[in-house]
């Protein structure tokens, strides 16, 4: 169990982490999310006693890390795969660590076997690929058979097999009753691994809840409905019926309809009432990524804009698609990130306590489905309007990696 | 269009790339997949003329890379975010690339703006985080507004906003009719980005198909049915000779029958359906199955390393070592 209470870290005038309070409980994989520069690494470093908090405290099993009796056997961490002396053999690297904390040498060979590095145990880690370095780092984290594990971007550089392995390893460690705390930028990966989420932005807590709750709180579930391809008038008819019943309907790329605001049985009944046969009626949940994007808009340091290609206009290839077509839900359109919805104003994270920003949709009584419908994140902004870049001036100083 | 014709690369005894023949077509995002050491990077380097093939050839619109005039205007590539001089500012890095291909100076500021690095344009690249370096590399690829783009692990080090951005960038580039070739280890990411897949293993071509075909061929897909009239639905299915399996949550799962047919069937027999959803395995599962099979085939060794049940991870790298021993 990791517990942070009022954790704050200032570097001079800059506040990296502000008044963070959360608990990471044993038995589940807890994901730790946030944009670049949000204070994730700083928090991880404070948990491990590498940085001292300015105020507040963070404890592991009730003790600050530096006061933990035999810390390496209670806490294992993978922070940076490159934090290894490159000239040392993989096995010797682990042996050093093991001897420091009184772990038998036998355990070293054990963990090398677990991560699949036994064949290269005698090679210098200098020659390791990023993926091999990552395996070595995981081996080091597992060395003391600890109850609490921290992983920072564990799948970096791994191939698909390694990614699958790490994911299953983390789940298995949690299932054994251990505390597993993982940070990652890969939402799709996190959705498969974590059960619980802690989200921070600008050093403050944005959310501390289960993945499922997080997704439903920050996005809308929807249904995908498909009518027979041969009868387009049925599609029109169904769209009308669904809209009349208060649903919001958007076309998808392949001709299906994305329906929000109506439960599946109701859609089924409405289709039946309109005498429309259905070829598909499937429930969908928005992705973790969509939910995350909605929540953290505005807390991003480097925002990309549309490629204007001013100097190279004549180079536009023949197949260029004109901008400004009808918005299509989902994919295939230049999905530059839409500006934050007006409801959220300019400061979605002003409050220190985790208060969920309002999901920007208005569930009922909105007549125009395009105006009131939850904007899917891929909705195109008007052509040639660069997304706002709220913080470009802060630049590299705001980036946690670059700051060091 | 990138055309590979019997492309082969040997390093001494070791064959890194073995007789690869495929084409990367414009208008779609083509994913390039394979386990570590499969030869992906070597192939990409040969496309760019950085490595010389031992056999076969790779052509870009029918020409060798070295025959292209101002190649950055034809092909943009992100191979390695660190392929730049750390002491040079982001702006100057792009400027020297632009000048070597006669690209106007104004374009440099433009691509910096596109990738969101304008504020740090004058900063030295060595102070950049991995994600910022990646953005600078992407800016370099976009510089000449090329019809062909190659990205090797583009989301490495990017934060979620960056990942989302690069994914949509690649899709919109493809939608404009460009050729987009992207390698990645992140199956879940690839599933969202690519339309077409090229899969290699041990330097050999394993698959060259559309994403949906790939998943269909390499995994189980089925249809989930839910109905308030469950018994009646079972009868109807039985009469029509369609086998259904009960899922744990009370839904029915039907293999091998398209959802269209099930929808028609239910409509004609007046069965109310509350769910009719086609289910597909993930790209990851399909990929694991395909590469595990190829591994097995070559090594004649124990069990397939396919989709592993959670809770009991196999020793990491079992398949990896199998391959090495093969």
């Amino acid at each position: 169990m990791i517990e942070a209470v009022g954790l704050t870290k200032r570097y001079g005038a800059k506040t990296a982490v502000y008044n963070l309070s959360f608990q990471v409980r044993p038995g589940t994989v807890t994901g730790f999310l946030g944009p670049n520069g949000s204070g994730k690494s700083t928090t991880m470093r404070m948990i491990l006693g590498l940085d001292a908090p300015t105020t507040g405290q963070v404890t592991i099993g009730g003790y600050p890390y530096r006061k933990l009796p035999n810390a390496p056997r209670q806490v294992g961490a993978l922070l940076d795969a490159k934090a290894v002396h490159g000239g040392r053999h993989a096995r010797n690297h682990l042996l050093c660590l093991a001897q420091l904390s009184g772990i038998p040498a036998r355990r070293v060979d054990e963990v090398l076997g677990v991560v699949g590095l036994q064949d290269v145990a005698k090679k210098r880690s200098k020659g390791f690929s990023l993926g091999m370095g990552q395996r070595l780092g995981i081996a080091a984290a597992l060395l003391g058979d600890p109850q609490v594990l921290l992983f920072d971007e564990p799948v970096n550089g791994l191939d698909p097999e390694g990614i699958l392995w790490v994911r299953n390893l983390m789940k298995a460690l949690a299932a054994e009753g251990r505390t597993v705390f993982v940070s990652s930028h890969l939402m799709s990966e996190m959705a498969l691994t974590a059960e619980h989420l802690i989200v921070i932005g600008r050093g403050q807590l944005l959310a501390d809840m289960s993945v499922r709750d997080f997704i439903s709180a920050n996005s809308a579930d929807f249904a995908r409905v498909r009518t027979p391809d041969s009868e387009p008038q049925h599609r029109e008819k169904l769209t009308a019926a669904l809209t009349e019943a208060g649903g919001q309907v958007m076309p998808e790329q392949d001709g299906a309809l994305r329906v929000t605001g109506l439960p599946l049985p109701r859609i089924s009944d409405l289709a039946h009432g309109a005498d429309v046969r259905l070829w598909e009626l499937s429930p969908h949940q928005a992705s973790l990524e969509e939910a995350y994007m909605r929540m953290t808009q505005g807390a991003v340091d480097y925002r990309s804009t549309i490629d204007q290609r001013a100097g190279l206009q004549e180079q536009l290839p023949p197949g260029a698609v004109p901008q400004g077509q009808m918005p299509v839900a989902g994919q295939g359109q230049p999905g530059w990130y839409a500006p934050p919805p007006p409801q959220q104003g300019g400061q979605p994270f002003a409050m220190p306590q985790p208060q969920m920003p309002q999901p920007p949709q208005d569930p009922a009584g909105t007549p125009n489905p395009y105006a009131g419908a939850p904007q899917p994140p891929a909705a195109p902004v008007p052509a040639a309007a660069p997304a706002p870049a709220p913080d470009l001036t802060k630049g590299a100083t705001d980036n946690e990696d670059a700051a060091r | 269009m990138i055309t590979l014709d019997g492309l082969t690369k040997r390093y001494g005894e070791k064959v890194a790339v073995n007789d690869l023949t495929f084409a990367v077509r414009p208008g779609v995002v083509t994913g390039f997949l394979g386990p570590n050491g499969a030869g992906k990077s070597t192939t990409m380097r040969m496309i760019l003329g950085l490595d010389n093939p031992s056999g076969g050839a790779v052509r870009i619109e029918g020409k060798h890379y070295s025959q292209l005039k101002d190649p950055l205007r034809r092909v943009g590539a992100l191979l390695d975010a660190k392929a730049m001089h750390g002491g040079r500012s982001a702006f100057n890095h792009l400027l020297c690339l632009a000048q070597s291909n006669g690209i106007p100076r104004a374009r440099v500021s433009e691509v910096l703006d596109t990738v969101g690095l304008t504020a740090v344009a004058k900063k030295k690249a060595k102070g950049f985080s991995l994600g910022m370096g990646q953005r600078l590399g992407i800016a370099g690829a976009l510089l000449g507004d090329p019809e062909i783009l190659m990205f090797d692990e583009p989301v490495n080090g990017l934060d979620p906003e960056g990942i989302h951005w690069i994914r949509n960038l690649m899709k919109s580039l493809a939608a404009e009719g460009r050729t987009v070739f992207v390698s990645s280890h992140l199956m879940s990411e690839m599933a969202l980005t690519a339309d077409h897949l090229v899969v290699i293993g041990q330097g050999r071509l394993l698959a060259d198909t559309s994403m949906s075909d790939f998943i269909r061929q390499n995994s189980r897909s089925y249809v989930r049915l839910r109905s308030p009239q469950r018994e009646r639905l079972l009868d109807v299915l039985h009469e029509a000779g369609v086998g259904a399996v009960e899922a744990r949550d009370g839904a029915l799962e039907v293999d091998g029958t398209p959802p269209e047919r099930l929808g028609e069937l239910a409509a004609s027999r007046q069965v109310v359906l509350h769910e009719l959803s086609p289910q597909q395995a993930s790209l990851e599962e399909a990929f694991m199955r395909l590469t595990a099979e190829s591994v097995e085939y070559h090594a004649h060794s124990d069990r397939p390393g396919g989709a592993v049940p959670a809770g009991e991870p196999p020793a990491w790298g079992e398949g990896w070592q199998r391959r090495k021993g093969a």
């Binding site: - | 292209l68 101002d70 190649p71 730049m84």
Partner: protein, 256 residues
């Protein structure tokens, strides 16, 4: 056209890294400062010289004494210009932009050479005038026979040293390896070979010994060097051409 683009690009590359400024700056400062120091010492020493030594007293060559150390900075410049591309991984980006490897290499060498020549000539003239000013009554004038040749030759010598280093770095790729070979080569091996009479005959065909001949205005009495100032420079040019061709051949063949 394409070549002009490459030259412009290489100029941007070379001016946008700080190592250019400090290596070339160091080459100039060290050469000038050490030259002045040795000139002061020589002037104070002049009275203790015997008649024979006074006859061969070469004020021009003495003012160039700092070059033995200053050339090391020139070597670092030449090595870094080329090997930085490899050590940073920039070479892959560069070769993707300019797949004609010869054009890339020689464009780079050309730009770096021009810069080295400018710095070399400036250094050479400044160190000459500074040295002569310090030498006071024993100084030589630019109009004296052979002196102008020696001063211009000093600039050419520094330039050729940098070019030779570029060729070697293009062959070896690693900056550490290149410097590890070139530094002792010019600083130790050359003078050791020159110091022992048995190997002296070989030693004087090394690039630095042959090339530095052009800076001498008066030759020692027992001198039996089989080449003159321009002949020596030609030997050095041959070394440079060899190194660059070697670098080109390897770059052409190698995987990047």
């Amino acid at each position: 056209m394409a070549a002009a683009q490459v030259l412009r690009s290489e100029w941007t590359k070379i001016r946008s890294v700080s190592s250019t400024v400090w290596t070339l700056g160091l080459a100039g400062v060290v050469t000038i400062a050490l030259g002045m120091l040795i000139s002061i010492l020589s002037r104070n020493d002049y009275d203790s010289l015997n008649a024979k030594d006074r006859l061969t007293f070469d004020p021009t060559y003495i003012s160039f004494a700092g070059m033995s150390l200053g050339q090391l900075a020139m070597i670092v410049f030449g090595v870094l210009v080329v090997s930085n591309e490899y050590s940073t991984g920039m070479i892959r980006t560069s070769l993707a932009a300019v797949p004609q490897r010869g054009t890339l290499l020689f464009g780079k060498v050309f730009v770096a050479t021009l810069l080295a020549l400018a710095v070399g000539l400036a250094t050479s003239f400044v160190t000459f005038f500074a040295g002569q000013a310090v030498l006071g009554p024993y100084r030589a004038g630019l109009g004296d026979p052979g002196v102008l040749r020696a001063v211009i030759g000093g600039g050419l010598y520094m330039t050729l040293i940098a070019m030779f280093s570029m060729g070697v770095a293009a062959m070896l790729r690693s900056p550490m390896l290149s410097l590890g070979i070139l530094m002792p080569f010019f600083f130790l091996i050359s003078s050791i070979l020159g110091g022992v009479s048995a190997t002296k005959k070989i030693g004087r065909f090394l690039p630095d010994q042959a090339g530095s001949r052009i800076m001498q205005v008066k030759t020692p009495f027992d001198d039996d060097t089989p080449y003159g100032p321009w002949g020596g420079l030609a030997i050095m040019v041959a070394w440079v051409v060899l190194a660059l061709l070697g670098g080109y051949a390897l770059l052409k063949k190698r995987d990047a």
